[in-house]
Structure formats: C-alpha cells, structure tokens
C-alpha cells in the first residue's frame, strides 16, 4: 500500500498544470470561478485548444485519438482540470456517445462521427429522459418506426442539456412495442436540424437555461443512423452510463469551491470580524473539507483498482462516489450562501450573460445554490444509487 504518487505521476501533474496555466483563457477561468455560465463560443474555443494538444478525448483508444494514459494519469488530468478550473470536455460527445460509437458502431460511423466529436465540430446532446420516464428510463415512449431505408421518429425528450447549442442528438427510441420494455429499444443518432425537431427551453429555478424539451414530429432519419443492433439500445445505454464512474464525484470541482470559500470567508465580515473567524462557520467548512478528503481517497481507491484489475468488475466503493460527491457539492454551495447571507437576495434576470462587469462576485452564489440541487437528481438520483448499493453490493 502506497498512497503517494510516483515521480513520473508528479511530473505529469506538473505538465498538466503548466499547460492549463498557459492555455486556459483567463476570462473563462474567472467565469467558472464565479459560477457563471459560458457561451458556446467560449467552450468550443477551449475544447479545440485541448484537442489540438491531443487531450480532447484522453480516455478513448489510441487509434481514435486517445492518449493511452494510465488510470492514475486520467485521474490527475481530470482533477487538475476541475480544480484549475477549466471547462470539462463536453460529456455528451466525449464520454457518452463517443465510446458507444467506437465500441458498437460500424467503420463508416466511426470515421464519420469520431473526429467531429473530438474537435466539437458537432455539439451532441442526449435524448434519454422523457416526461414519463425519469428514474424508470426503460419505460420510454418515443418511437422509431422503420419505413424502407428510413426511421420515422415521434415523441418527446426532456431535460436535454444544452440542446439549444446541439447539432446532433443520440436518442433512445422504442423500435419494438411488443417486446419487454428493456428489449425493444434502439440507439439512433441524428441531426438536430432535421425537419420536425423542435427545441423548447426550460428555465430552471436558478433562472438559467441549461435544459430543454425536445419534440419529434415525424422526423425522418436514415436507417444507417442506427448504432449497433436494432433493439439492443438498452445495453448500449447501460454501457454508456457505467462508463464514467469516477468523474461523477467531481472532487476537483469541490476542491476549487472550498478554496474559494476560504478566500471569501476571509474577506467578508460578520459581527465585526471575518466570517472565517466564526468557529461555527469554520467547523462546518472543516467538516466539509474532511468529507471531501475521504471522498478523494475513496475515488483514488476506485481508480487504483481499475488500473490494476481492469474496469470489468467495479470496486464496491465506486457507488459511494455519486452520493457523497453530490452531497459535498451541495454543501459547498450552502457554505457560499452562508458567507453572503442577506446579500444573496438580489436577482439579476440577465445574470447568465456574464459580461456585465458591474455585477459583483455575489451575483451567482444564490443561483448556483439553487442550481446545484440538480446534482443529487441527475445521473441516476441518489435514491437510485442507494438501490444500486443495496442490491449490487449488499445483496438485499
């Protein structure tokens, strides 16, 4: 047992830090630190910088542009990226549909889609959830009917993150109504510019526009846009969701936020002294730091285990990551709320624009607190995670 990084790993971390320091546009970093949303252009610009460096799709197989890093190197890269902070690669393309395509897609699909995902020539979004199908995803109703060499797609998806920017969607559609619910689903990809696709924004409680409803009305899609086999879509969806086990803890994000909390709490005064000198506040902050340290170690255990024994058999500790990771993220936003206290109140309807220099640093704290309630809901709610632990780990 040795929890220290090797000399090579430390050198690698330095290389990554140095690259971020020299290449992340300062304006992007500042916006992330302040919890602001980035414009599409800002994100794409950064991802192309990463891709040019060869770090756009780090965990993909080498033949498709991956790095061949060890699991520890991937961990270090993600940690440094999150805690710098710099925008993470667009998950829908890089972590979700990309691996499905290179694992289950045909040669033509790999050639056509993979390079465009890596360079974000196409912005992808995810068509999974539906109004009646949240945690019970397999009950989804959107249909794809085969007509000659085409699919005709009808139905509705929801919670589609950043669909307003998207060029492409990967979609779970019911292709066999008579099969058992998990069996009759196919994984189909198509252009968001297709006739019959309508995107309607959903405004979330923070006032932001991250998610959307997407309607399909007789959308015609070439048959060859089916990934893998017909009616095997559920298997691909499970593969996709199981792929990103460790990133979900977002330890680096919370680390960065805790650093910010310490800095702000040293500046803001309450009761004639900086907030950080209030023992009650400081102990809450410290308790959160300890929880995060424990989570970081738990994550490292999972990472080291995967490096040694492969991804086949997940380490039982991996199911802890989502639950604790989301709870800690939420706690950090609560601590920020405590620091600003009554100054959380002003609501800036255009807060999202992020270009208004007159807005001070408090502007995004309350929205970020409201917005972060999502992290224990998405990606399999924490209640679903507890179901997974009790069944898969404890055998209940």
């Amino acid at each position: 047992m040795d929890l220290a990084f090797t000399k090579e790993e430390i050198a690698f971390r330095e290389e990554v830090r140095e690259f971020f320091k020299n290449n992340v546009p300062p304006e992007i970093r500042r916006k992330l630190q302040e919890g602001r949303h980035l414009s599409k252009d800002e994100m794409v610009t950064w991802w192309r910088i990463l891709n040019k460096k060869g770090w756009g799709v780090t965990h993909w197989p080498k033949e498709y542009g991956g790095t061949g890093w060890t699991t520890v190197q991937h961990y270090i890269f993600n940690e440094e990226l999150q805690s710098y902070p710099a925008p993470q690669p667009l998950a829908f393309g890089v972590s979700m549909v990309g691996p499905v395509i290179y694992t289950f897609g045909n040669e033509k699909q790999k050639k056509e889609y993979l390079p465009r995902i890596a360079n974000v020539d196409d912005w992808w979004c995810q068509g999974f959830s539906e109004p009646g199908s949240g945690s019970d995803l397999a009950s989804l109703k959107t249909t794809a009917e085969r007509k000659g060499d085409k699919w005709i797609i009808n139905g509705q998806k929801t919670w589609t993150t950043l669909a307003q920017h998207a060029d492409m969607i990967f979609c779970l559609c019911r292709t066999d109504k008579n099969a058992k619910k998990q069996m009759g689903i196919s994984f189909i990809v198509f252009s968001m510019k297709s006739k019959g696709v309508t995107v309607r924004p959903i405004q979330t409680i923070d006032g932001g526009h991250e998610v959307n409803e997407v309607f399909f009305d007789d959308v015609e899609v070439p048959y060859e846009n089916l990934i893998g086999e017909e009616n095997k879509g559920w298997d691909y969806a499970k593969f996709l969701l199981g792929n990103e086990r460790t990133g979900i803890a977002r330890v680096g994000v919370s680390k960065e936020r805790l650093r910010r909390i310490r800095a702000l709490a040293s500046k803001v005064e309450s009761g004639g002294r900086p907030v950080i000198e209030d023992p009650a506040f400081r102990e809450k902050l410290t308790a959160c730091e300890i929880e995060l340290k424990a989570l970081e170690l738990t994550q490292l255990r999972v990472v080291a285990d995967e490096g040694k024994h492969g991804k086949g058999k997940p380490n039982p500790a991996s199911s802890v990551l989502k639950i604790k990771g989301s709870e800690i993220q939420q706690t950090t936003t609560e601590l920020l709320m405590e620091i600003i206290g009554p100054f959380a109140a002003p609501y800036d309807e255009h807060g999202d624009a992020g270009s208004n220099e007159s807005m001070d640093w408090t502007a995004q704290i309350a929205p970020s607190y409201f917005n972060n309630r999502k992290v224990s809901i998405y990606g399999g709610s924490n209640e679903i995670q507890r179901n997974i632990i009790s069944k898969a780990v404890l055998g209940l």
Binding site: L3, E9, E289, A294
Partner: protein, 381 residues
C-alpha cells in the same frame, strides 16, 4: 499509488484473520472475559507465537520491523473479532513510546517482554480535568537525587489493573496547561505508593483509576526528555488514534455484515425485512459511511510516517472525525435495523455498538478533533 496489500501483508492478514476465526467467536470471547483480569492469557500467548506482538519493533530489538500498514491490518482484525486483550495499550502505545523515545537500555529491558507475551502495559494519561488535552497534566514528577518522585491521580487507564508496567505522563515543571515541562515515566505497577482500583468498561475491556503517592523511580524511568516529552506523547497518541480508526473500521465492517445478514433472514409481514426500501437505503448509507471511514483510516495510516508533525496530526485528527461520524451512524443503525434483539446482551451486534462508542471517546472525540483541524487552518491548506 497503490492500495493493494503486498504479498507479505496479505499473508499476515490471512494468518491473523484465520487465528481469530478459530479462536475468537462470540462464545469464546464471553469465556475469555470471565478469565482472570477479564482477558485470555492463552489467547495472548497465541498472538505472541504468531509474532503479532513483535510486529512493529525493529529487528535489532527482536521484532519484525513492520510498518503502519501491518498494524492497521492487525487492528482491523481485532476490531472485527471484538478482541478484549490489551494490544493497543501494550504493543501500540507502550511499544510506541519505547520505539520512538526509549533508550537502548529501556528497549532491552522492556521490549522482549512485550514480544514474548509475558508483560503487558497501561498508559496512565487521563486526569480528572484534562479531558482530551494531552498537555493538560497536574500529576507531578519531582527530581529526587538521580531519580524522580511521582504524585497524582490518573483515570480510565486501559489494562491498568493487569499491567506489569505503567507509562505515566507527569509534569516536571510549569503549570497545568503548559506545553513544556511534561515527562513520560515507566513505573512498575507494584511500586510502593501505586494504588489501583480496577473495573470493567462499557465495552467489555478493563481499566483502572490509579493513584500515585510519593512513588519513587530511578533516573532510568524517564523515556526521552523529561522536560519536553509532549512531541513524543503526541506522536504515540496519533499512532494509537490511527490504530483505533482501523479497529473501528473492522468493527463497522462486521457490524454492517451482521446487520445485512439479519435483515435478509428476519421475516415480518411474510417477507424478509431487507426487502423494504427504507431498510435497504439505511443499509446503503451505512455502507457509504463505512467506506468513507475506511478511506480515512488508510489516509491516517499513511500519515503516521509524515515527517511534519503538524501535517501528521491534522491528517490523523481528520481521520478520527470521519471515523467518529461513521461509527456513530453505523453503530446506532445496526441496533435500529436489528430491532428488539439488538437491545439484548445475548446478541453480538450490541457489543460492536458499545466498543465503537467507546472508541469515539478515546483520545479525542469527533468534536475535539474537528476543532483541532479547524483551528489548524483546515485540511486543504
């Protein structure tokens, strides 16, 4: 970075787990607790035979030169089996003082008796008003000729009634809460002026309140610098806390296993109660608490070799916070999920709960250590 045990460590784990599986089921434990002093000398001899009592000592002192990971392995196993024998007091604490502060003569005099199982120790540190502050010492050690005279009262000294030798913290100068002027002394338990009042503890161990009245010891009784012993005391206390974290992880691990097994078999309303989601989610939360504690136990184990004492203490305190929170949750919920049977002395589960509860209050509880980390500037700094 590697969390796996080495081949040798794996073998150690197998052998200690195997020994306790054979010799330390719940009925055997009850039997041992009824023996003289409340623990089994025969079992202690078995631990000695397998080399477990000599693990951390240098090979030149007759030991195996094992490190913190090996102690973690043993303590976890002891926690799983709810072992009542005085491993912590003798091997970890007294052994720690001798290893880190003992002179060549002291090592030669005391370590062989620990390794062969013939001698046990007690750590006389807690005082009426000291609570968890190791530097809060009223007991005095006054110079007399070449030697020392010790006067004072110590409480809840684990294994204090049975110990052959007591390791005593005493003030050589300064006031009650001065950090300088504290020494550590080896005092034979049968020395003139030592009065011991022994009693069982809540978790089935034994302890004693001990009065020292004009107890005379030689110059060779002092371990390390008698006027500046606090850094040594803090180091050994940290090692004891690390060991307690590992013991707690072992006890929580077993506690969760027993609980899951119970709710799989206990039937109400015609079904196993483990089929109810409210109980499943509770068990899942217990698993989360256990794994977070396990991670911090590993972190603390690694920290025992940190050269910077402040960094070490902060890491160990953080681990004690996490383990303290986790053990309270796992311990309490284990009883809750067992229902009525969990309330009985006959069921093993309550004994885990009691041991876990006492671990929280040994060498600093959760709030105490949280305050320490907080006042030290947090954990990220």
């Amino acid at each position: 970075m590697d969390f796996d045990l080495s081949e040798e460590q794996r073998l150690l784990k197998e052998s200690v787990d195997g020994l306790l599986a054979d010799a330390y089921d719940f009925d055997a434990r009850k039997k041992y607790m009824k023996e003289k002093g409340g623990w089994s000398k025969a079992l202690w001899d078995k631990l000695a035979e397998q080399g477990l009592l000599g693990l951390p000592f240098a090979e030149t002192d007759g030991g195996f030169g094992a490190g913190a990971v090996e102690t973690m392995i043993v303590m976890e196993a002891l926690g799983k089996a709810l072992v009542v024998e005085p491993y912590l007091a003798t091997v970890v604490v007294a052994g720690g003082f001798l290893r880190h502060g003992g002179s060549a003569e002291q090592k030669a005099k005391y370590i062989p008796g620990i390794i062969d199982g013939s001698k046990t120790f007690g750590f006389a540190q807690l005082e009426k008003n000291s609570r968890y502050d190791l530097f809060d010492v009223v007991t005095t050690a006054k110079k007399k000729g070449d030697g020392w005279v010790i006067d004072g009262e110590k409480f809840v000294v684990l294994n204090g009634e049975n110990a052959d030798t007591l390791v005593v913290t005493a003030r050589t100068k300064g006031g009650q809460r001065d950090k300088a002027g504290i020494g550590v002394f080896l005092v034979p338990s049968d020395a003139k002026g030592v009065t011991r009042k022994g009693y069982p503890t809540q978790d089935g161990l034994h302890a004693a309140d001990i009065t020292f009245t004009n107890v005379e010891v030689g110059a060779d009784a002092a371990i390390g610098d008698p006027e500046n012993g606090l850094p040594l005391i803090e180091r050994v206390a940290d090692e004891a806390r690390i060991a307690l974290c590992a013991e707690a992880v072992g006890a929580m691990d077993e506690s969760l296993k027993e609980t899951v097994e119970y709710i799989k078999t206990r039937k109400q309303f015609g079904v196993a109660i483990g089929s109810f989601q409210s109980l499943q989610h509770r068990a899942a939360d217990m698993f989360v608490a256990l794994e977070q504690a396990r991670s911090m136990s590993m972190f603390a184990t690694m920290a025992s070799d940190f050269t910077d004492a402040k960094e070490r203490s902060s890491a160990v305190a953080a681990a004690k916070v996490q383990v303290g929170k986790s053990l309270k949750f796992v311990g309490q919920q284990s009883i809750q999920l067992h229902g009525g049977i969990g309330m009985t002395m006959e069921a093993k589960i309550g004994h885990y709960f009691k041991r876990l509860t006492m671990i929280e209050n040994t060498l600093g509880d959760t709030d105490y250590h949280l305050r320490r980390v907080s006042e030290g500037g947090g954990l990220l700094a």
